[in-house]
Symmetry: C2
Subunit: 194 residues, 2 copies
């Protein structure tokens, strides 16, 4: 099956993400790729902040609160159950609740290696951590921002951070930077790849 | 200049990292690549934990404490200067001191796209976030662990975390996971690529 058919088939499928819909902030960027003859997008996230507990492995991790937008202090007010442990391979564990901020991430299928290189060269000027995830069967370029947070927030029900106002400000600064970088990338792609 | 010559020239150069020497934990893995006819390593870090302040941009960031090994509580005892601000484009800023844990990272130059694909396929079983950084002039595969922390630790001289013992434990858990994954990757490379 050639690139054209793969693209047609893929874009006809429904969005299958955890969230169940495409983040609106990233749609203009997706459209740029999907209207380009050498590219189409296979997954995307506009950036998000969430609380989680567990081992970090897919089936042993529980998401608690998720936001794809700016937050207020109340984002951190979670009800800690008397038994916060999760069942894992090693038995029930007392849980640390972590806070994570993830950058915007796009996966772009490319027609061939040269079109992947062209995209990568432009994208890395805005999203330094962009790279080729796969170059064998499908050629997939990952476009990834650099913003990140990962920190323990609660342990056995106790809040570990003394200044929640500051934490809210710092998370929102990251989110702002994430959203701005989506627009920067879209401008770069529009200018250089069309 | 062909791959053989590039490899010879590159490996004759001195290590130019910030640290000034190669992390011993990662040397067996580097040797596996550098003795392989299709690969050589261009940079590496065995994983590290450090405190930093500034904007995050290269010339506006100051590293405070760095460890490439397990830490004790005293790692977090830093002297906060009365003026902790850094000069930035926007003027002097009051500094947040951040704690960051970074996974092990290797950059491996590959002879061609097929040898990059072979490496990537094996490496992604241990280091899921591995990818091709460049596929045009030099072909560089990045092998990258998944462990990460990024959190505010001090703000205007005030410690933000109530439980430094726990933080030390959590950092060391990450470091342990980082060091174990280097050995897993080395075993995988030795078995599958030689």
């Amino acid at each position: 099956m050639g690139f054209e058919n793969e693209k047609k088939t893929f874009l006809a499928k429904l969005d299958k993400s955890k969230k169940g819909s495409i983040d609106t902030k990233i749609i203009p960027l997706l459209t740029l790729f999907n209207e380009h003859k050498h590219y189409y997008t296979t997954s995307s996230c506009s950036g998000r902040v969430y609380l989680w507990k567990g081992t970090g492995k897919k089936n042993e991790t529980e998401w608690i609160n998720v936001s794809h937008d700016f937050i207020t202090n109340s984002f951190f007010n979670i009800r800690i159950e008397p038994e916060t442990g999760l069942k894992t391979e090693r038995g029930t564990e007392r849980a640390t609740v972590w806070l994570r901020v993830e950058p915007s991430i796009l996966h772009v299928a490319c027609r061939d290696i040269p079109s992947a290189n062209t995209l990568l060269e432009q994208a890395q000027r805005v999203y330094k951590k962009s790279c080729i995830l796969s170059a064998s069967n499908k050629i997939i370029v990952e476009l990834r921002g650099s913003e990140f947070m990962e920190m323990p927030l609660y342990n056995d029900g106790t809040l570990l951070i003394s200044d929640i106002d500051l934490l809210t400000i710092l998370v929102n600064k990251k989110m702002e930077s994430i959203f701005q970088s989506i627009e920067k990338l879209a401008a770069k792609i529009k200018k250089e790849l069309n």
